[in-house]
């Protein structure tokens, strides 16, 4: 109960909407309007915030004005301009200074997988045979481990047999049937969010 009687941080006089509406009780004649143009102008004459000024070079700062925003999609990157476009030569020197340190930037993935083109047609035939004949043992991941390639490559090369697909579908349905409302909704939301990326929302 102690919290309810804590005094407001600001005095009442600066919050006029809390006061009773005394203007209504007064006569119409004594009501005073700020009708002069000069007074209104004076109120609007506010000094801009210091963060709008020239940037403090060399100093750390938290507030940036105007705040940073995503670049517009209508700005065509220099590389995408056709060779005869006049903007290409104009932008070249300004951009060179900014993106000189691309190789120093960290990558999104820890390590880029080295691309090996080592599988022969006979290997691919073997992959297909293994997956078709014994799909329970030779899953995509096991095949990828054995042939030292990515599971995506296995999926590109061959397809699971219809029985295996049907079985996998039943397993998935069994798992999903145990989900409660929360988990189901969270999964759906995640899917919707993912679709919103493609629309740039």
């Amino acid at each position: 109960m102690a919290t309810s009687i804590v005094a407001p941080k600001r005095p009442f006089l600066t919050l006029p909407f809390l006061l009773p509406s005394w203007t209504d009780s007064l006569a119409l004649g004594s009501r005073r309007y700020q009708s002069s143009y000069r007074r209104t102008k004076q109120r609007l004459r506010v000094k801009p915030d210091a963060s709008f000024g020239p940037s403090h070079a060399g100093q750390d700062q938290i507030i940036y004005n105007p705040p940073s925003s995503a670049p517009t999609a209508y700005h065509t990157p220099n590389k995408f301009l056709p060779a005869d476009d006049a903007r290409r030569s104009m932008l070249v020197e300004s951009l060179n200074s900014v993106t000189s340190n691309v190789s120093e930037l960290p990558g999104v993935y820890k390590s880029e997988a080295e691309r090996k083109y080592h599988l022969t047609p006979s290997d691919i035939e073997e992959i297909r045979n293994l997956r078709m004949n014994d799909p329970m043992t030779w899953s995509r991941y096991k095949l990828a481990k054995r042939f030292e390639c990515s599971p995506i490559f296995i999926a590109m090369v061959c397809e699971a047999s219809p029985e295996k697909k049907q079985m996998q579908k039943q397993v998935l349905e069994a798992v999903q049937s145990r989900w409660g409302v929360k988990r189901r909704m969270a999964r759906e939301d995640r899917q919707l969010r993912r679709e919103a990326w493609g629309r740039d929302e």
């Binding site: 995503a70 670049p71 517009t72 999609a73 209508y74 700005h75 065509t76 990157p77 220099n78 590389k79 995408f80 301009l81 056709p82 476009d85 006049a86 903007r87 951009l95 060179n96 900014v98 993106t99 000189s100 691309v102 930037l105 960290p106 990558g107 999104v108 993935y109 990326w197 493609g198 629309r199 740039d200």
Partner: protein
């Protein structure tokens, strides 16, 4: 290239008397001749009253004339031509749209009569709407193709629909303050949009695939490729709708949206006929191109990173690499990553997201949009060559086409 003398057309094209006397026209129009014209009302006013002039009594004559007038108003399914000059609504619409003074009120009244209200092709707006629709879609297409030469076809369809689709045109007719008549008829004020309404409960989409030339059009579940849409479908990529049966007139009708769209198209056609090409183009720029459309919102990609890799491969750029430009709160509940996609030393796109994967997808999407939304400098559309004293034509930028994965 010399301009046609359109001022002279405007008087002759709409008058039934000065029509070229070919056989088809004579056969079509001698059967039910209407002594009305949208061009001049002098002759048509005097013609029916010749017999009445014999009467000498002015009082009786005025009464007879009034009855006659009332009857003549009811004789035709759409308001008589001479009513156009007396309508305040029509004059207000003419002034509100700032239409050229060469476009007479009579023609504006004709643009408000839908084919479902008056079947006579001389008095409804069908012919004007056909011309106006062609002009609208032509101007919109050349604007889009010249300004954004790399747009994918699906986006062009969506943009066409947004600029000149029936929904937009209906909204424009509403903004112009055009009201709908409850029922069409000769006694209605010609300032109202007149059309026969669809009976409630009618399936509007019922005869949608009657006119389609597409083979196997009956197979609803089959995939329709975008390329086939160019050939078989209309300019918005939609299936061509079957023509509403123009038989008895009682059963057929149009929706309010379609009637409004037809009216706007007819206004465009009427301006072209009466005031010429420059006025039509100005009208198009002021009323259609001035509407704001953010084309970058029309895109929807499912796998932008894959498409971008394919694009860079096609254009012989270095393969795109995603790099973290900045990040904050990686171990917190709400991290923000800013990822850039680089091809060699050039940054193609930049995106921010709550996970590395999201930021990378958004960056790839931004890069793809940067490619597709390229707009050349100093764009000239082909129709600008129709102006007098135009500079010699320089070919516009034509792109290879969208990325096909």
């Amino acid at each position: 290239m010399k301009r046609l003398q359109l001022q002279r057309w405007s008087s002759t094209v709409l008058s039934p008397r000065a029509r070229t006397g070919n056989c088809l026209h004579q056969q079509l129009y001698t059967a039910k001749l209407r002594y009305q014209s949208t061009a001049s009302s002098i002759q048509s006013e005097s013609a029916p009253y010749d017999a009445i002039d014999v009467l000498e009594d002015p009082k009786l004559m005025s009464q007879v004339r009034r009855v006659h007038k009332h009857k003549s108003a009811l004789a035709y399914p759409s308001p008589p031509v001479e009513a156009a000059t007396r309508s305040a609504k029509l004059a207000a619409l003419h002034a509100r749209l700032y239409l050229p003074s060469r476009l007479p009120l009579q023609t504006l009244a004709r643009t408000l009569v839908d084919a479902s209200a008056d079947e006579n092709a001389d008095f409804n707006n069908e012919s004007l709407a056909t011309l106006g629709h062609d002009l609208l879609t032509y101007y919109t297409t050349e604007h889009l193709l010249c300004n954004y030469p790399r747009l994918p076809l699906t986006v062009i369809f969506a943009a066409m629909y947004a600029y000149a689709g029936p929904k937009t045109l209906a909204a424009m007719a509403k903004e112009w303050g055009v009201e709908h008549a409850a029922m069409p008829g000769g006694e209605v004020d010609p300032g109202y949009l007149q059309f026969q309404r669809v009976e409630p409960g009618t399936d509007v989409e019922a005869n949608s695939d009657l006119q389609s030339a597409r083979p196997y059009a009956a197979q609803k579940n089959w995939r329709k490729t975008v390329t086939s849409k160019i050939f078989y479908d209309d300019e918005f990529g939609d299936q061509i709708k079957g023509v509403v049966s123009t038989g008895s007139g009682s059963g057929s009708g149009v929706t309010a949206e379609l009637a409004s769209a037809t009216f706007v198209r007819a206004v465009m056609g009427a301006i072209y006929l009466h005031a010429g090409r420059p006025a039509a183009k100005r009208f198009f720029e002021q009323h259609f191109l001035s509407r704001h459309l953010n084309i970058s919102e029309l895109f929807n990609f499912s796998q932008p990173a894959r498409d971008l890799a394919r694009l860079c491969n096609r254009e012989n750029f270095e393969p795109p690499v995603a790099k973290i430009i900045s990040e904050t709160g990686r171990k917190s509940r709400h991290p923000v990553f800013v990822v850039g996609i680089f091809s060699g030393q050039d940054k193609l796109g930049e995106g921010a997201g709550a996970s590395l994967l999201e930021a990378r997808e958004r960056a790839a999407l931004a890069a793809l949009k940067g490619w597709y939304l390229y707009s050349p400098l100093n764009v000239r559309v082909p129709s600008s060559m129709e102006e007098e004293g135009a500079a010699p034509w320089k070919p516009v930028y034509v792109d290879l086409g969208e990325v096909i994965v």
